[in-house]
């Protein structure tokens, strides 16, 4: 459990520097939520509202997680999900960055790529999942390819937008200091676009966790999505809720990680905080 607690701590700290009071408020909100949840599940039992296995209390869920954690089963699932998300998001983000930076800079590339993206983008990624399975099969590759596909859009669109939105006065200033083409891009366009690109990457990470679960419902023997689906088959509500909570924490930590890495580069946005 200490790992999950660490993640919470890290996530809370990672989001942005908080004052003691804000932190207390946030922890209080989490505790209040747990209390309400306990109350609700307790009432279900006391008043015999419905079969209590449908709404397991938080302690039951935490107990289940503890059990899965201690017997080692949980870590295999976490590792499987994290691995797929990490590889898929990284591939998708890198592809999107490369293509997005090119499209943002060069009008012909933009004219070539944007219409395709604009047509594919409104399709919910989940609608494409069966196609991926048909094309790539049910195994690991299709899951990763699917995450790659889903991550691509937010990162691509924000990157193109960020590059095109760079303040033209910054470009003029750099040009009259002698910067041209390659150097103009590296020293001005890239750093100026970075904040928005990072927002796109955070969206990509979130979407990665969003779609992995569903692709793990189908043809997976490991992963938190599998754990949820397995729980559904056998009415193991604590297992379903537990896996969902771990997913939430991982997504939170993923976001915090990107922000942590980003803060190194974006110190200039709020320099007084550093």
């Amino acid at each position: 459990m200490s790992t999950v607690a660490d993640l919470v701590q890290w996530g809370l700290r990672g989001a942005s520097p908080r004052s003691g009071r804000a932190l207390a408020l946030r922890l209080g909100a989490v505790l209040a939520f747990l209390a309400l949840w306990s109350l609700a599940s307790g009432l279900v039992v006391l008043l015999k509202l419905f079969n209590p296995i449908f709404l397991a209390g938080p302690w039951l869920v935490l107990g289940k997680l503890l059990q899965l954690g201690l017997n080692g089963e949980l870590w295999g699932h976490v590792a499987a999900t994290l691995g797929r998300v990490a590889v898929g998001v990284t591939t998708g983000a890198l592809l999107a960055l490369a293509l997005g930076l090119l499209a943002g800079q060069l009008r012909p590339v933009r004219n070539l790529v944007e219409p395709i993206v604009e047509v594919l983008r409104p399709i919910p990624p989940l609608a494409m999942l069966p196609l991926f399975i048909v094309w790539v099969g049910i195994g690991e590759t299709s899951k990763i390819a699917f995450i790659t596909y889903a991550t691509f859009f937010p990162v691509f669109l924000t990157t193109v937008h960020a590059v095109q939105r760079v303040d033209p006065l910054l470009l003029r200033a750099a040009r009259s200091l002698g910067a041209r083409r390659g150097r103009l891009f590296l020293r001005v366009v890239l750093p100026a676009a970075l904040p928005e690109i990072l927002t796109g990457i955070r969206l990509g990470v979130a979407l990665g966790f969003f779609v992995i679960v569903i692709s793990e419902f189908i043809g997976a023997e490991q992963g938190l999505g599998y754990l949820i689906n397995d729980g559904r088959n056998f009415f193991l509500v604590p297992q379903m809720l537990g896996a969902a909570i771990v997913l939430g924490l991982l997504g939170y930590a993923g976001n915090a990680l990107v922000m942590l890495l980003g803060r190194r580069w974006l110190r200039w946005e709020r320099p007084s905080a550093s």
Binding site: L169, R175, L177, W268
Partner: protein
Amino acid sequence: MSRAGGSARVQVEGVHKSFDLDGRSTPALLDVSLEIHAGELLCLLGPSGCGKSTLLNIVAGFLPPTRGRVLVGGAPVTGPGPERGVVFQEYVLFPWLTVAQNVEFGPRLMGKPAAGCREITARYLEMVGLTAHASKFPAQLSGGMKQRVAIARALANDPAIVLMDEPFGALDAQTREVMQEELSRIQRVEHKTIVFVTHSIREAVYLADRVVVMTSAPGRIKEIFTIKLPEPRDRFAPEFTQYEREITRLVKEEVMKVHE
């Protein structure tokens, strides 16, 4: 183009500029010819919308003239370049770079060795009085400090010409006078060719070797004054006031035309 510091002559030859407004070509500059001597500080003065920024942007190479041409050190301008430094009205600094890194931007781009860059940066930060703020980011500076960084950045790149478009326009009156004194002091050391756009007649008389008064839109040159006052200038000297009065009368004529 002479790049090794110093200054260069700017020749504006028969420059016309029109903009397309709703499909109609609207003239902004009409046949402007002007020679700016090497090492001279020239102020451009004129009613709002008369084309001062347009002329400056053409010299900077940001805009092509519709007709005519601009020569810098004898070579025609085809685009922006490091021999023409620019200071914008809007305090354009690279927000992700510290004060020192902003000043160093040009020299580093030129591939100067690190030690040389540091020395240049230190010298120009000292010149604009910002040595103590070298490691701050632009977001931590006041408007006047930002503009001093922008001036230091332009000068550190050792341009032959510095183009300034209302650089002190957004500053309060006191800061503005301090900045004028600083620029005048720096110019006595650096002897750059400076084109300085302003709305303020006092500022022009305080800084300029010559003041070019432009007509209301479309802009032409109305008159050129040579300011023969000793430096540093005394804003309360009777001769200073005399120049102010004369130039004010001319500018007023043009401003009245706009309101007719």
